[in-house]
């Protein structure tokens, strides 16, 4: 038999039960030094009614068992360190290891947020340096690093718009959101007390500027727009949209989730944006970690500066840094302390590694997306013909004829050694395949991906059942999500 060269092979994949199922009384994985002060009786110290004799059901396992447990679990995950993650809109780029190292340094990881500012100048300088870097990249005037993620950044931004408009007499009622927007946008507008009105996209995938003009009235507080949008298309009329809004006293909010397509090339502050957030766990490479932590700094135009969340980092005349808490117009505090500092350290390490060269990452990200677009055009349906930037959106229209949909193709990618792309989003493309390679992929990896996608397209035509029943190489088959939601089991319980 001729040797085959399959892209993936089954590997040893050890089973592993839950921690609680491995537990046995009397084992432990950590020991503390002996107590060097008089011991106290818990019930006596707290009062019997307040005391507790250990936590029922807590695991009891040894150190080596903990190591094997989590190491085995880790082998069941896909990760950037293993291969390409073409998740559109998620920007799964390389997470440099030096960033992990510096975030753990003694003197950074060890610092308490309430220690005196005079003893925190190093932490504050890191924050200030990152602020200035982000202001230059965005072209905005002022910034807060406090939001913990993009969605909290959006909330801060809309709350600032609300406070600004209220200070001028009327906070207004509505926020406009394009139909191609991320789900966080409408959810945020509601959290900040606004009604949502959808704006249509036109036949080119951009905001229908005519529809926008009809919708902007005295009740509209802001338009939330992602640029480039979720189709990977630059909103060409963005400056015109800004003028339209400003003429009616409304503001322009930009979701900076796709800032990795613009960094070093174009700045939102230069095309009329009033408020924007960035996702440092996307553009600035901080690890996704299976769903966070992230960071969602918000940058604003000058007139919104008084409304920034409190406290605000300020540089004193003598060059020392400190917190300004006397901010009477501030929207208030978004979280305790100053934000996800450890994430901000990693983002600055990434930013400093590139410096002005960040534009090279932007260029490679756009180059990679266009390469994939070119190589798969004609194999998959391209609903919008406009040139793309950092991501490209296909549809499953051709494969649907064989009964194969975008989710099936995505699951089949797993058998080829890739994480699926983003499926069924943006909502304006039925059966969307949203692909974002980022700048972190070599040509070899891109070609491997293209080959996989072409092969799956062929399979969809010739052997659709193979695709529809994928994945075949994962350690577990498709799970019954409907059943899981109908009768939720959300914790382990002893038998």
């Amino acid at each position: 038999m001729a040797p085959t060269n399959s892209p993936v092979a089954r590997n040893v994949s050890l089973g592993e039960r839950l921690l609680f199922e491995k537990s046995a009384p009397g084992k432990r994985g950590m020991e503390l030094p002996p107590l060097d002060v008089p011991s106290v009786d818990v019930a006596h110290a707290l009062g019997a009614e307040n005391a507790r004799d250990g936590v029922d059901g807590f695991p009891e396992v040894s150190e080596i068992e903990v190591i094997r447990h989590f190491t085995r679990l880790s082998t069941w995950n896909y990760a950037i360190d293993l291969g390409m993650y073409p998740l559109g809109s998620c920007t799964m780029k390389y997470n440099p290891r030096v960033n992990e190292f510096v975030a753990r340094l003694e003197g950074l990881a060890t610092e308490h947020p309430l220690q005196p500012a005079e003893l925190s100048q190093g932490c504050l300088r890191i924050l200030r340096t990152l602020e200035l870097f982000l202001l230059e990249v965005t072209g905005m005037d002022a910034i807060t690093l406090q939001p913990c993620a993009g969605a909290q950044g959006e909330y801060a931004g809309i709350a600032m718009i609300r406070a600004y408009l209220a200070s001028r007499g009327n906070p207004r009622k509505k926020v406009l959101v394009p139909d191609s927007a991320h789900g966080t946008n409408p959810a945020t507008a509601v959290t900040a007390g606004y009604e949502v009105r959808n704006i249509r996209s036109d036949s080119t995938g951009r905001i229908d500027i005519g529809h926008l003009a009809e919708c902007v009235d005295e009740d509209v507080a802001a338009l939330m727009v992602t640029n480039p949008n979720t189709l990977g298309i630059f909103e060409r009329d963005i400056a015109e949209a800004a003028e339209l809004l400003h003429a009616r006293g409304a503001l322009l909010y930009m979701d900076g989730a796709n800032m990795n397509a613009l960094a070093g090339v174009a700045r939102p502050g230069d095309f009329g944006v009033d408020v924007m957030h960035m996702n440092l766990h996307k553009t600035f490479s901080t690890p996704h970690g299976g769903g966070g932590p992230g960071a969602g700094p918000v940058a604003v135009e000058k007139r919104l500066e008084p409304f920034l969340p409190t406290p605000v980092l300020v540089e004193k005349p003598d060059g020392r840094l400190g917190w300004d808490r006397n901010r009477p117009k501030s929207i208030g505090r978004l979280r305790a302390f100053y934000g996800n500092f450890g994430v901000l350290v990693r983002a600055l390490a990434y930013a400093l590694a590139y410096g002005p060269g960040m534009v090279e990452a932007t260029r490679d990200a756009v180059l990679n997306a266009n390469y994939i677009r070119k190589k798969l055009e004609g194999v998959y349906d391209l609903p919008y013909e406009q040139p793309c930037m950092h991501e490209v959106v296909f549809s499953d229209a051709r494969q649907k004829k064989h009964g194969v949909n975008t989710m099936d193709i995505a699951k089949r990618l797993i058998d080829y050694g890739f994480h699926p792309y983003t499926t069924a989003f943006p909502l304006i493309v039925p059966g969307a395949l949203m692909i974002e390679p980022t700048e972190s992929e070599s040509r070899e990896e891109l070609d491997r991906f293209v080959e996989a996608m072409r092969s799956i397209a062929a399979e969809a035509a010739e052997n659709p059942e193979l695709v529809k029943s994928a994945p075949h190489s994962a350690r577990i088959g498709r799970l019954d999500e409907v059943g899981a939601a109908r009768k939720p089991v959300l914790r382990w319980k002893p038998q």
Binding site: V37, R52, G107, E111, C148, I238, A266, G342, L367
Partner: protein, 462 residues
Amino acid sequence: MRYLPKSDAERRAILDELGLASINELFASIPEACRLGRPLAVPGPLSEKEIIDYFRARAAENAAGYTSFLGAGVYNHFRSVVADALLQRGEFLTSYTPYQAEISQGTLQAIFEFQTLMCQLTGQEVANASMYDGSTAAAEAAMMTVRLTGRRRLVISRALNPEYRQVVDTYASDLGLEVVETGFDAKTGQTDLAAAQAATDDTTAAVIVQSPNFLGALEPVAQFAEAAHGRGALLVVAIAEAVSLGAVRAPAEADIVAMEAQSLGLAPSFGGPFAGVIATREKFVRQMPGRLAGQATDGEGRRGFVLTLATREQHIRREKATSNICTNQALCALAVTMHLALLGKEGLREMAAQNLAKARYAVAECEKLPGVRRAFSAPFFNEVTLEFPRAVRLINHELERERIIGPLPLGPFFPEQTKRGLLCLTEMHSRQDVERLVAATRRALESLGVGAREAVSSPAER
């Protein structure tokens, strides 16, 4: 650039395939007027060595080498190197949110374990994974009670961490909620139960207390639950020091627990990233924000885990979602899971008991100082409010000369309490650390004009 895996020749070849003369043509869709047209004016580029040197230099400008007695929502507990080594496996660190269950079972099973651990700790039936931190968990819990009750008034203890309170205020003000503050008892340091009861009416969605509270006092959770439930309101209990739950009875009577899990395995890291948790009753789960992993089976009957009840979330429900939260603190929750697996039942019990003992030893030693005494009588865990004969700010200034960061001055939070400070002890403090603190405080008081004579008279003042 070392992070970019392409040679110039490869870039050129791709451009040729695309039929483009230059890379700038890729950006032709951006109008000329919108483009920057110059290099970014930013520092860098830096090599790996320069990056390390830069951050080492910043670290040296902080408080390395100081002994700190700060808590107030951020606690320094022992963390095994084992957990961090596991956490840095790329399969955990560099993976995405586990929407694709077949290749995310590691993260999903760990989340399920995290949820179980949080339920066991808090005495609640379900827990999410995760919120940004304890303060946003408290705010989200408050908004959850508004959805559950249809009421729009919040009664909040003044002894809730003031920064948590500020966060709740931010979210409440955008939703137009009424926030009523209820005071604490000047003697016990506990939230005034009678006042809280009086403030709770038929329009109240929730009573919110913290235990141990910001002043260190344990709250009688069951009594607050009774008071809230008597008016059809819900009780939210915030927990900032989760290690306390190794010694303190779980707040099982609470309807929602909003917890900060930082002290269970996360570094202080100048205030973040941490991991917030919301734990609640099963019947409230559909109004709970944040991600949840649930058990499921595949076609062959094998057990696996999936993200579930997503119809609560923004990516499905958009403007009708329970919260706008998307990215959360998953890796921090995983670190907590690893830490608790190592610590285990006995380790957590021992750690909590050591904290109790160290705090009591420190209080006894501090009370030997002239004019220093416990400010409140309620039982405390590892944090306690001490009263000093001089402003804490002034005493701390002296302590800093001896490389000690003293108790947190309460003046900035409670203007009437400038002579009070919040002292925190954990298993990380040695007996010598306490002795140094006491000796240095004695010298500080002397230099501020408090001598032994005052000590003789001080017991009479009590």
